[in-house]
């Protein structure tokens, strides 16, 4: 499939597709971070994670609408506000869901999977009732439009760079929170030995709720990022949930760096192949390879050996 292209063309194709893949990478990282935190903490997959992302996307859309009609002068700066609001909205909803649903289902991960799937159906229909079935697009501020030309043939879209910046910052934030703060120490204590953590005075219920809310909030940020690269519809989130879980597992569920590395690998593979194959076949091959690798190495690429 490479025969029709010269070496220089190939280089720039790889580079361009690589940068295009960075946007996908950003969404993957943000989605996967949230999912991994929840999965690592509770051993459950939140199947409604995509809908939490879409909530963030809708909040971003609403914010941009509000700024353009009421504060047009500040429109250039709406995005940081939108990210914050998206985080808060998704985190609040996440906390509520934990309280209503998840906390009754600890130790039943498969049931949690089904229940959160039910939640995702309800959220999808709610979005459809509230925002309509049509997809909505967010208007970007001028400074995020256009692209930055590195060479004649290679151009990098600015919004892609911006979104990647957000995801790396978020990842850094999560790292600091989980590994450098008292709260993160509590979370890790609960993960390793729940009864013991409870016995030494950690409020495990609270830790669970906050972790779940945090994971959902990060999905909200992912939603903000998502508006930069795609249009928002009620079911857009569902398309990402399987991919995202594969990213988490592929990276080895407990490893932050692994998650980022695997998000990078998967998004780059898909994006690069998309240029040469049809988009659907690129996805088929990517998923096949990931599933194949997971069958051979189910613990993921970056897992460590744990004493039972």
């Amino acid at each position: 499939m490479f025969a029709d292209y010269s070496a220089a063309e190939l280089t720039s194709i790889f580079a361009m597709q690589g940068f295009a893949g960075l946007s996908l990478f950003s969404v993957f990282v943000l989605m996967a971070l949230g999912l991994a935190i929840i999965f690592g903490q509770m051993g459950v997959i939140n199947m409604a994670h995509g809908e939490f992302m879409i909530l963030g996307a809708y909040v971003t859309w609403l914010t941009s609408g509000f700024f353009s009609s009421h504060l047009p002068g500040l429109f250039a700066a709406y995005f940081p506000v939108a990210i914050l609001l998206a985080f808060l909205a998704s985190a609040l909803l996440g906390g509520a869901v934990e309280w209503l649903l998840i906390r009754h289902l600890y130790k039943r991960p498969l049931d949690t999977l089904l229940a959160t799937w039910g939640l995702s159906l309800i959220l999808q229909q709610a979005y459809r009732s509230i925002f309509g079935a049509r997809e909505v697009g967010v208007r970007m501020p001028d400074w995020m439009m256009g692209s930055y030309a590195i060479t004649d043939m290679i151009e990098v879209p600015i919004n892609g760079l911006f979104v990647m910046g957000i995801s790396l910052l978020t990842a850094l934030g999560v790292y600091l929170l989980m590994y450098r703060s008292t709260w993160g120490r509590k979370v890790r204590a609960v993960v390793q030995n729940r009864p013991m953590a409870g016995a030494v005075g950690i409020n495990t219920q609270q830790v669970d709720r906050v972790t779940f809310a945090l994971g959902c909030g990060i999905a909200g940020i992912a939603g903000s990022a998502f508006t930069m690269i795609g249009s928002t519809g009620p079911t857009a989130g569902q398309l990402y949930i399987v991919d995202t879980f594969l990213v988490v597992v592929f990276g080895g569920a407990q490893s932050l760096l692994g998650t980022i590395a695997s998000a990078f690998t998967i998004s780059q593979a898909q994006s690069t192949m998309e240029f040469f194959l049809s988009g659907s076949m690129a996805k088929v091959y990517t998923l096949l390879v990931v599933v194949g690798i997971l069958m051979v190495r189910p613990q993921g690429l970056f897992a460590s050996r744990i004493r039972h």
């Binding site: 999977l113 309800i122 594969l246």
Partner: protein, 377 residues
């Protein structure tokens, strides 16, 4: 005789006969041809639910990709029917006569090699059983030998369902794409679109379903069934009692796959088409809810669950399409939070004691002998 009595308790036989009478006598008499065909369609999902009872309820292995097997069975059958519908006479106006119409539309000029054997009905029927079994074996072998289970397994099966759906939709020329394989007409010259044919196919479907029920029951009643329960409880202890746990999981996953495939093939025959909309993650997880509503530990419950949820879906989505997703979502949550053993659980908890008491009254008045204590399961 005693051996038989060990395998079927009186009550189980009674419930089984009740279901059989409902499906074989009551429904065909009560429903018109269209509704009966619709019921037949619902029953094809009962095959999947039945497999899930074995695999998820007893085996503890939740597959969120049963649509894959339903689809494999359905597509195998559809390929045979499609080839029969694409004879030279009816495809004379195509660029390449003699191949299915969608191939012609997609500039495919020659029947692909993997289509060739589907000219034979014998091969097709074998393929309906063998293809999903082999596919399930490969997945099961890879996963269970490495002790992958639980949430991981669920999501991997979901990924496989996604892959297959994208593949079917993407490879239009070979699969009919998103529309699926439509316009299926005859089976060995017998027109399957007439009311008579549909009625016969309904009875065939019921017959196969009852057969699968008996088979599943026998399996659960054997030591195999007790090992499944033991595995769900303490997998390690089973292993250290000398059992290769993965073999049991692989077997039950394969069996669930084959059941689903039979359902899929019957779907194609009764409904007259097969499409990727029965393969992907959404239909696959819906099939889990059929099983969960009926009761994940009850074989008969699976049949009722499939019937009731599908009936509700049809009537609901006709009259209040927006509400259906809410109802479906609520059903997922309710079945997990409020009644994890589904209708069967509710029945044996609330209704059965009442019936028992009523029955005991009748009997004591009739013969004045206290009723034998019967163990309920």
């Amino acid at each position: 005789m005693t051996a038989l009595r060990n395998l079927f308790s009186g009550r189980e036989v009674l419930y089984f006969l009740l279901l059989a009478v409902l499906l074989v006598v009551v429904l065909p008499l009560a429903l018109d041809a269209f509704r009966l065909n619709l019921t037949g369609k619902y029953l094809t999902f009962a095959f999947v639910a039945l497999g899930l009872v074995l695999c998820w309820g007893y085996g503890g292995v939740l597959s969120l990709g049963q649509g894959v097997f339903f689809g494999l069975g359905g597509y195998c059958m559809a390929m045979f029917l499609k080839l029969e519908a694409s004879d030279m006479a009816s495809t004379a106006r195509q660029t390449t006569p003699g191949i299915p119409d969608f191939m012609d539309w997609n500039q495919v000029t020659e029947l692909p090699w993997f289509w060739e054997p589907f000219h034979s009905l014998t091969f097709t029927l074998l393929a309906v059983l063998v293809v999903p079994a082999v596919f399930a074996f490969v997945i099961g072998f890879a996963m269970f030998k490495r002790r992958v289970g639980g949430v991981y397994f669920a999501i991997i099966t979901q990924a496989i369902a996604t892959i297959l759906t994208i593949l079917i939709i993407g490879q239009q020329g070979y699969t009919g794409g998103a529309n699926g394989m439509t316009d299926l007409r005859t089976l060995l010259g017998w027109d399957i679109r007439t009311d008579d044919a549909k009625q016969i196919l309904y009875f065939l479907c019921v017959f196969l379903l009852l057969l699968c029920l008996v088979l599943a029951h026998l399996i659960l009643r054997s030591k195999f069934g007790r090992i499944l329960v033991a595995m769900r409880d303490r997998e390690d202890r089973v292993r250290f009692s000398g059992y290769d746990v993965s073999g049991f999981k692989i077997f039950v996953f394969c069996l669930a796959g084959v059941f689903s495939a039979i359902g899929g093939a019957m779907f194609t025959l009764q409904v007259g088409f097969m499409s990727p909309s029965f393969v992907g993650i959404v239909p696959s997880i819906e099939m889990v809810i059929f099983c969960a509503v009926g009761g994940r530990l009850s074989l008969l419950g699976a049949v009722y669950g499939a019937l009731i949820v599908n009936l509700a879906k049809t009537s609901f989505s006709e009259s209040f399409p927006e509400l259906w997703l809410y109802a479906m979502g609520a059903l997922f949550i309710a079945v997990v939070l409020a009644f994890p053993n589904g209708l069967a659980g509710l029945y044996s908890r609330y209704l059965e004691p009442l019936l028992d008491r009523g029955w005991a009254n009748v009997r004591s008045r009739a013969v004045a002998v206290p009723p034998a204590q019967e163990k309920t399961s």
